[in-house]
């Protein structure tokens, strides 16, 4: 009975995934039904305006401006827009002015359908003009910051692109800073982001597909990938997963990530994100798919491999040997951040012979005054550190200095002097914490895993750590990201060029095998320089000047 509840829950969760694949198509039908029940557009301007205002709930920032145009002001129309979301110059110069200054070329009045066509194609001066015949589309256009032009007597309206609102400018991303490399970061505006990526890859193969997700937020989501390089099966899978989403809101790419990821119960994320266009461009070039979400500067890339957490953009801009050294340090740092507290607990409680004798005396002296077992000490320190970290993100800037001093003092000296924790424990946790920041995208998984590892370490010492490690390996081995095995680069000997070391760029001539299909070569192999500066040229110079000085 005790386990019956748990077993039933687990069984439900594992079998649920199979059920929902089969019933995925039912969502589409509902929306079609809805569309058929909506209000139709009519010829009367007054009616249309009334219906439009109803759909938009008569908000106070909805502006309706009635105008009359035509050579004899015979046509009446209205422009509808949301104040604050449009670009006023475009509205006046692109729409109102040409409209109101329009003189008829032909003598007859054009009839209704023709009128809209003429307006769309000959009169309105804007970058995008679309003719829509459904009120919901017109309303959606308003909500996006476009202006709707309704003409009396026409069954339809024009949706004109006048988007303009306050945007953040392109600045250095706060979460990924580099010493060497471009300092542009994405912004919250979709078009800016896609344009940033386009500017990196100026090739016709870069394809962009747009989808709208979220019932109430109607967020635009763009997929960008290299056609002919990205695996078409993965592209199709991503399209399917996003288009089948029946959710209410998408506020950030993290929402999309949670909805489309392969392993929702794993601490490791199978979808990667980045705030820098050069990073995303590099990933697209390797055959991955970028998912740009409107309203957030974080762009997702799929599929993700474990090794990507250890690769930063800067790796590719500095020299290969140094980059390889940094890569190895990052691996060691991740290992430290997950296992250091566990190993410390194991050494202190079980394997005293591993500690050199002199150090053992120090530890013994440090442990004399402290009341808690090592495991509890470690938990306290880790908890305190997590509190500090979170506080550091949330605290208001003026108070920042004072709090950080207090934090350091409390954690450091005072805790040790008061006898709550021992000095070696403080050092261990400090290194653990700092090492966690070397691998930024795995910081959260590292924090969780280190607590999990501490439990078998406290019970079984290094054997417990070993089996915890093995368990983690087994879990990582079973993870897949959109069909690509998560640990691919370690088991596939051919792709080792970019894992533990960073091979020089002139040696990486093939794309990673698991991700891309199609064109796999990136370039030809050579060892620089292409042509050694012909030494005889120098010698001629030298000879003229009387020998090398």
């Amino acid at each position: 009975m005790l386990f019956g509840y748990l077993i039933r829950k687990l069984r439900f969760l594992t079998s649920y995934r199979n059920i929902q694949h089969q019933s995925g198509n039912s969502a589409n039908e509902e929306t079609k039904v809805e569309k058929q029940n909506e209000i139709k557009i009519q010829k009367s301007l007054h009616e249309n305006l009334k219906n439009l205002k109803n759909i938009l709930c008569d908000s106070q920032d909805l502006n309706v401006h009635s105008i009359r145009f035509g050579s004899e002001s015979q046509f009446s129309a209205a422009i509808v827009f949301f104040d604050g979301m449009i670009d006023n110059p475009t509205l006046t110069d692109g729409i109102l002015r040409p409209l109101m200054l329009w003189g008829m070329g032909k003598k007859e009045d054009p009839d209704d359908t023709d009128l809209l066509n003429i307006l769309e194609q000959e009169v309105v001066c804007a970058s995008t003009v679309t003719k829509e015949e459904a009120l919901s589309e017109l309303a959606a256009g308003c909500l996006c910051g476009e202006t709707v032009l309704l003409v009396d007597g026409c069954m339809g309206g024009l949706v004109i692109n006048t988007k303009g609102w306050e945007k953040r400018s392109v600045t250095e991303p706060a979460s990924e800073t580099v010493v060497r490399g471009p300092r542009e970061g994405f912004t919250e505006n979709l078009r800016t982001n896609t344009s940033l990526i386009r500017r990196k890859i100026r090739n016709g193969q870069l394809k962009l597909e747009q989808l709208k997700v979220g019932e109430k937020t109607q967020t635009t989501v763009c997929l960008m990938y290299l056609e002919g390089v990205a695996n078409p099966k993965i592209v199709e899978e991503v399209q399917y997963r996003i288009s089948q989403l029946d959710v209410e809101s998408i506020l950030e790419s993290g929402y999309i990530e949670e909805y489309i990821e392969d392993a929702p119960f794993s601490p490791f994320s199978t979808v990667d994100y980045s705030e820098k266009p050069d990073v995303v461009a590099a990933r697209i070039l390797e055959g991955r798919i970028a998912i740009v979400v409107d309203g957030t500067p974080f762009v997702l890339t799929v599929p993700m491999l474990f090794i990507e957490s250890f690769q930063t953009a800067e790796d590719y801009y500095v020299r290969p040997m140094y980059a390889s050294l940094l890569r190895i340090i990052r691996f060691i740092a991740y290992f430290i951040t997950v296992f250091a507290p566990a190993v410390y607990i194991a050494l202190n409680s079980f394997h005293h012979e591993l500690i050199p004798t002199t150090l053992l005396f120090t530890f013994a002296k440090a442990r004399e005054g402290t009341p808690f077992p090592v495991f509890v000490e470690a938990l306290i320190m880790i908890f305190a550190f997590e509190i500090l970290r979170e506080a550091g993100v949330r605290l208001p800037r003026p108070v920042g200095q004072a709090i950080s001093i207090v934090g350091a003092l409390i954690m450091g000296d005072a805790a040790v002097s008061a006898g709550i924790v021992g000095a070696p424990m403080v050092i261990t946790i400090a290194i653990t914490a700092v090492a966690g920041f070397l691998v930024p995208s795995q910081t959260d998984s590292g924090s969780m895993l280190r607590v999990v590892m501490m439990i078998p370490a406290a019970v079984l010492g290094l054997y417990g750590v070993a089996f915890g490690f093995l368990g983690m390996l087994v879990h990582l081995a079973s993870l897949e990201s959109f069909g690509v095995p998560y640990f691919d680069s370690f088991s596939n000997t051919r792709d080792m060029q970019d894992t533990l070391i960073r091979a020089p760029l002139w040696a990486m001539t093939r794309r990673p095998k698991g991700i891309a299909r199609g064109d796999m070569t990136r370039g030809h192999f050579f060892i620089p320089p292409l042509r050694p500066f012909a030494s005889d040229k120098h010698q001629e110079d030298d000879a003229q000047e009387g020998g090398e000085s």
């Binding site: 005790l2 202190n348 079980f350 053992l360 002296k365 004399e368 495991f375 019970v459």
Partner: protein, 392 residues
């Protein structure tokens, strides 16, 4: 409202956390509940069945950075002593009578009193081989007198005398591996009955407050009983014969003239021949490079004459010492140079025949020693102040 399901899950979680929190795990030991053993001494008692076990527990190392507290006096060791049937019994007694458990893994030295060595050490070694906490690379030594004296005395150099002795032997091992006898080496020789195990002998000298611990030679065992010894000079002969010695001095003396040659490396080759009727001959050839370390006298020689002269003297000296040491071992009928092992390895068939008569054959073995020293340098100066000018 907490539903039944949630309560059960909460209980499960608590049960899982308990082992870690209460540290009720079986093997877990906090460091402050341990006694770190820094020396074990075995002595004989009046009752031959009982053994006197002394353990030195270290509390802290001298010169630690702590938190600024000065050492206010009081010793930094605890010495535990008891008499028991077996060593394991003694350990259990210590554990039972204190609030801490003994940690044997850091123990750097095992000492045997000279009486124990003379009666036989085999029965005391079993624990050190069998116990999971005991280590094989720990050196062993005999103490002149009672082994416990080494552990109870305090030294200026190191408050933990056990670690001091271990360090002493460690330094000696850099001269020659044979000077530091590890448990493994001792047992290896013991298993082979015809080879004589050896152990260094140390002694405690000095007054109560100013004690010093020194090495006074090597002890020769036959089987597991101590039968004889070599003093420090004769031990030199022993290690030269075994070979692979580095950084030692040879003293030569001619009348009042003395010279010390510093040899950086000495290698010894041995040839063991056995004839069909069991006559064994051993030939040792030693080779090394030396330099003059210190000189006194030799005023009537030039540097050119001096070097070959010194060389002859040194070679003679070395041969003498080796032969002397070997004769002592022949007198004790203990094969300290492991000649029988070499015989078994190189001439196994002939060894089979004579192995039962080894005790009779050993005293009759002929040893020829050949030494070849090259004098490579003379230090910073070429001639000493007392010598004639070479140019004159």
């Amino acid at each position: 409202m907490i539903t039944k399901g949630k309560r059960i899950v909460a209980l499960l979680l608590i049960f899982m956390m308990l082992p870690g929190l209460l540290s009720g795990c079986w093997d877990s030991r906090e460091i402050d509940k341990l006694f770190i053993v820094t020396g074990i001494a075995i002595d004989a008692t009046d009752d031959p069945d009982q053994v006197d076990v002394t353990m030195q527990i270290g509390k802290e190392r001298k010169g630690e950075a702590g938190l600024g507290e000065a050492q206010t006096g009081g010793s930094s060791t605890i010495v535990l002593n008891t008499v028991n049937d077996t060593i394991m019994g003694a350990i259990r007694e210590f554990n039972r009578n204190s609030n801490r458990k003994l940690l044997l893994q850091h123990n750097p030295i095992r000492l045997f009193g000279i009486e124990v060595a003379e009666h036989g050490v085999k029965k005391h070694i079993d624990l050190f081989l069998r116990d999971q906490q005991a280590r094989l690379e720990v050196p062993v030594a005999i103490v002149e007198g009672r082994a416990a004296d080494v552990l109870t005395g305090t030294l200026d150099q190191d408050p933990l005398s056990g670690m001091f002795v271990a360090g002493l032997l460690e330094d000696l091992s850099k001269v020659s591996v044979e000077l530091q006898v590890r448990m493994l080496d001792f047992v290896s020789r013991l298993l082979q009955e015809t080879v004589a195990p050896m152990m260094p002998i140390i002694a405690v000298v000095g007054e109560e407050d100013k004690k010093e611990i020194k090495t006074v030679g090597m002890g020769i065992f036959k089987g597991d009983k101590l039968v004889g010894r070599l003093d420090n000079d004769q031990s030199l002969g022993y290690i030269w014969a075994m070979g692979d010695v580095s950084q030692f001095n040879v003293k030569v003396q001619e009348g009042i003239d003395k010279a010390i040659l510093h040899v950086s490396k000495l290698k010894t080759k041995r040839e063991v021949t056995i004839s069909d009727d069991g006559v064994v001959k051993v030939k040792l050839s030693m080779e090394g490079g030396a330099s003059i370390a210190e000189m006194e006298g030799f005023g009537n020689m030039t540097p050119q004459n001096l070097i070959p002269h010194l060389k002859d003297l040194a070679q003679e000296e070395m041969k003498q010492t080796v032969t002397e040491a070997f004769q002592i071992s022949q007198g004790l009928n203990a094969d300290m140079l492991a000649i029988s092992a070499t015989l078994e390895q190189r001439h196994p068939k002939k060894w089979e025949k004579i192995k039962d008569r080894w005790d009779e054959i050993y005293p009759t073995i002929e040893l020829t020693v050949d030494a070849n020293l090259k004098i490579l340098g003379t230090g910073q100066i070429i001639q000493s102040l007392e010598m004639e000018e070479a140019m004159k």
